[in-house]
């Protein structure tokens, strides 16, 4: 009753309501508020429904940089005459990589599969950058059969190469650390980072994409944090440990 009185008080200040009898006025207001509330819940429900999540996951498919594609093709071309065997291996790696990139990537995949993909990707980058690119894997304590969204790690490596290694004449080291702790999987990636001449823009896009895919899969149980300190850039992903469904 108090509530109705308050509403009455509020609306009585607007001239249109002065013409209506008290009861109709109260009823009208209550109705309007009900309709708005229902509309809000309806919108919310539609936004979080599985169908919408599916569609968004599909739209968020990871994209590879065209820069990488063309530079890799160029690198393979340079190998064909002098080292045909190496050129063959590189083309095979490229085929595998693009098969995954073009696949429907909505289902979770075993961690080991993502690692294998990353190794193929890095082999291609190594072709171009040679001794400038050093990789350090610290994955002895990782659960290889844990399920993660595909292409979570590869785009991060691509960023690390593009923003961290390529701008350095003498190159640098990318460190990848994966471990599980308290039923959570941690992926920590670090790379050298020079503030001068950076293009932050492209980096943000890839990070937001991964962040959103993590949220769609795990909601608040997963997180992605990034920071830069003393010339080192770090990305830390935490996600719940899930075993493959049998």
């Amino acid at each position: 009753m108090f509530c109705n009185a308050a509403i009455y008080n509020l609306f009585s200040k607007i001239w249109i309501f002065d013409d209506l009898p008290t009861l109709s006025r109260v009823l009208f207001c209550s109705f309007a508020i009900c309709a708005l509330t229902l509309y809000y819940f309806n919108l919310r429900q539609r936004a979080s429904s599985p169908a919408v999540a599916e569609a968004r996951l599909q739209a968020l498919q990871a994209r590879i940089r065209p820069h990488f594609l063309f530079n890799s093709i160029n690198a393979v071309l340079s190998l064909i005459r002098s080292q045909p065997k190496q050129a063959e291996a590189a083309l095979e790696d490229m085929a595998d990589l693009f098969r995954v990139l073009m696949a429907d990537n909505r289902e979770l995949v075993p961690l080991a599969q993502e690692i294998a993909l990353c190794r193929q990707y890095l082999a291609l980058e190594k072709l171009r950058l040679n001794e400038r690119l050093n990789i350090q894997w610290q994955i002895d304590n990782m659960p290889p059969d844990a399920m993660i969204p595909p292409l979570i790690l590869q785009p991060l490596l691509e960023n690390a190469v593009y923003h961290g290694i390529e701008p350095l004449a003498d190159g640098g080291t990318i460190n990848i650390q994966i471990y599980s702790k308290l039923n959570e999987i941690h992926l920590v990636l670090t790379n050298p980072y020079r503030t001068q001449n950076n293009h932050q823009h492209g980096n943000k896009m890839a990070l937001n994409n991964i962040k959103e895919r993590l949220t769609l899969h795990f909601d608040l149980e997963a997180s992605l944090k990034s920071k830069q300190e003393n010339g080192v850039y770090e990305v830390h992903i935490t996600l719940p440990q899930q075993k493959q469904k049998l």
Partner: protein, 245 residues
């Protein structure tokens, strides 16, 4: 006709070897050298005097656009042909300025045409590309016929003196013919204007101190700098910067 002398500049070994293969196939030219970044390209060009330089755009140390700006100042400036992998925004800038560029992977016929029509860049073509590389990483200084590249990050302060600007690094001083106002516009995020005639690098300012000047005995603020004994007087108009620092 003498053989064309060509310099290759690309940070990726496979890209360089690919260009070498293509150039060998075309024949009747001479590859005088290979550079791994923009800085090396300038020093080699100065030394080897190539007719044409094939210049990659995305390189460490110094990118191709900036290198082209410095190359233009050489006594015998080579013709520049840019090479690049797909980069959307860049290609628009090239088309607009009718500068020759080759898209990687490069085709032999396309390279051949580019070599035939190659000529030195015009200043206005370069200024059109400047938006792709708004801030230089090095200043180039010509000294006794040699070209020196001083990294911007090594510069402690810049001081205008009559016609020249003195560039001070930890080791020594250089003279350049650029205007301080122009340098301030380009590097405003790196240097702070402490006085009408002086820009000091934020990274090298240790602190400020109030000191008395001999003539009037009036105390004035000066900036203390890393690596050099001299101080820089802060003009009255710029004293608000001290409070902010």
């Amino acid at each position: 006709m003498p053989m064309l002398k060509i310099l290759i500049a690309d940070d990726e070994a496979p890209a360089r070897s690919r260009l070498r293969d293509l150039l060998t196939d075309i024949g009747n030219l001479h590859i005088t050298g290979e550079a791994k970044n923009g800085k090396e390209a300038i020093l080699l060009a100065d030394q080897l005097q190539p007719d044409i330089i094939l210049l990659d755009i995305r390189m460490p140390e110094m990118n191709g656009i900036e290198a082209a700006q410095h190359l233009q100042k050489l006594t015998k400036a080579p013709a520049v042909i840019f090479t690049t992998a797909f980069e959307n925004y860049a290609i628009q800038a090239f088309d607009m300025n009718a500068v020759d560029y080759l898209l990687k992977p490069i085709r032999q016929e396309r390279l051949q045409t580019a070599l035939q029509k190659a000529r030195a860049l015009l200043p206005q073509q370069l200024s059109g590309l400047q938006s792709l590389s708004p801030q230089r990483t090095h200043l180039n200084i010509t000294e006794r016929g040699r070209i020196l590249l001083v990294p911007i990050t090594d510069i402690i302060y810049l001081r205008a003196e009559l016609k020249y600007v003195t560039v001070r690094t930890a080791e020594r001083e250089y003279l350049i013919e650029e205007s301080l106002t122009h340098l301030e516009q380009e590097f405003g995020n790196i240097f702070m204007r402490l006085h009408r005639n002086c820009l000091a690098a934020n990274a090298y300012i240790i602190g400020f101190e109030k000191r008395s000047q001999d003539e009037h005995g009036e105390k004035q603020w000066v900036a203390l700098l890393k690596h050099v004994p001299e101080t820089i007087t802060v003009s009255r108009r710029q004293q608000h910067l001290i409070r902010m620092a």
